[in-house]
């Protein structure tokens, strides 16, 4: 028990290895665990980003798989011209766009999936009425986000959820900074109109 606790404490205090070290470990020694750690850091955000673009779980999984394969294949060529996260999301964005284009060709007559299987996190100390209100607010926000055009949705979510700077977002979606800022402005206006009753945005 003591040993386990000591190990756990050591794990907690272990400094976070930076992305470039993990990349070098993978490329130089074929260290699979380094690659898993690196990709695991961004997996959640990446999947959410892909899902928000394609709005379909299976397509998002396909896009994620293809993104990881391409990332692993091209990792030795990564030259720190931008952050690894930006590079990874850029690959993911391209894959998601490919899937959306392919789907348009196939013309799947299927309504986009409703998001978020998981229930929203609620405060355990809150009263049932507060929890209900919170859940309604989250639901209203989800609906409002779903109504945004895909390009605006990407910018809003990368900025607010991923806290990515606008310049990095511009790199991810391969658009000028002015375009990104314009999409953010439009998205904020739309959300403001859609959520005027629930939020003061």
């Amino acid at each position: 028990m003591t040993i386990n606790l000591t190990l756990a404490r050591q794990c907690c205090h272990r400094p976070r290895v930076d992305d470039m070290t993990l990349i070098n470990n993978y490329c130089a020694h074929g260290d699979v665990s380094a690659a898993a750690t690196l990709l695991g850091r961004y997996e959640r955000g990446l999947y959410n980003f892909l899902w928000q673009t394609v709005r379909h779980h299976q397509d998002a999984e396909d896009a994620k798989q293809e993104t990881i394969c391409k990332t692993l294949r091209n990792l030795p060529q990564f030259r720190q011209q931008c952050q690894f996260k930006t590079w990874l999301y850029r690959i993911g964005h391209n894959e998601a766009i490919n899937i959306v284009r392919r789907r348009k060709r196939i013309e799947i007559h299927e309504s986009p999936e409703r998001c978020f299987d998981a229930p929203p996190e609620t405060d355990m100390n809150a009263t049932p009425s507060d929890q209900l209100m919170q859940s309604e607010r989250v639901s209203a926000l989800q609906d409002a986000i779903a109504k945004l055009p895909a390009k605006e949705r990407q910018v809003v979510l990368l900025r607010t959820q991923e806290e990515m700077p606008f310049k990095e977002i511009a790199r991810v979606i391969d658009a000028p900074l002015g375009t990104v800022l314009g999409r953010m402005r439009n998205a904020r206006q739309r959300l403001s109109a859609l959520l005027s009753q629930s939020f003061a945005v």
Binding site: L39, E43, F116, F166
Partner: protein
């Protein structure tokens, strides 16, 4: 909102991407412009609200096994650079050795006797006769351009003509026998 500071600049200020000189201008503007301050506040409220929305999660989380599987499915191999160079050099050496063994540069390729048989000769007997003739004699080039040959060009042409006549005679005899 005052026209000194644009909405884009407020957005960049919000994400800490504005140049230092413009940061001061924006902060001065925020002191005297309640609309700009309210705009920033709304951006903060929006960010907090969206961060409360649960994120979608993959059903196939990334582990070492998954990475290994992706490597296998897409045939990704990662070798250190010196190893890659050594592997390429070894491949080149193997190919070069195999090439030298199959076709050494110090030997001249010689066409097999059967290659010189004309395709019109259809019957087995005709082919057998011609193969025997051709196989038993030296190559035409050797005969015509032998270094020590005293024959003049006319004599060489005459000899070749006589030989062709002999072969024709043989073939005619075979045909009559059949």
């Amino acid at each position: 909102m005052n026209s000194n500071v644009t909405e884009d600049e407020l957005l960049l200020y919000w994400s800490n991407e504005l140049d230092a000189d413009r940061v001061q201008a924006v902060e001065a503007q925020l002191q005297c412009d309640p609309k700009a301050a309210a705009y920033l506040e709304k951006l903060g409220v929006l960010q907090e609200a969206i961060q409360d929305v649960p994120q979608e999660e993959s059903r196939d989380p990334i582990t070492e096994d998954t990475v290994a599987r992706y490597q296998r499915t897409s045939k990704i191999t990662v070798f250190p650079k010196p190893l890659r160079i050594a592997a390429l050099a070894a491949c080149f050496a193997i190919l070069a050795t195999a090439g030298l063994l199959v076709m050494p540069p110090w030997t001249t390729p010689q066409a097999p006797a059967t290659a010189r048989i004309s395709p019109e000769k259809s019957t087995d007997a005709e082919k057998a006769v011609e193969i025997a003739e051709v196989a038993n004699e030296p190559l035409l080039s050797d005969r015509l351009f032998a270094s020590g040959s005293p024959q003049s060009s006319n004599a060489r042409v005459k000899a070749a003509w006589e030989r062709a006549g002999r072969i024709r005679g043989l073939l005619a005899k075979k045909r009559t026998m059949r």
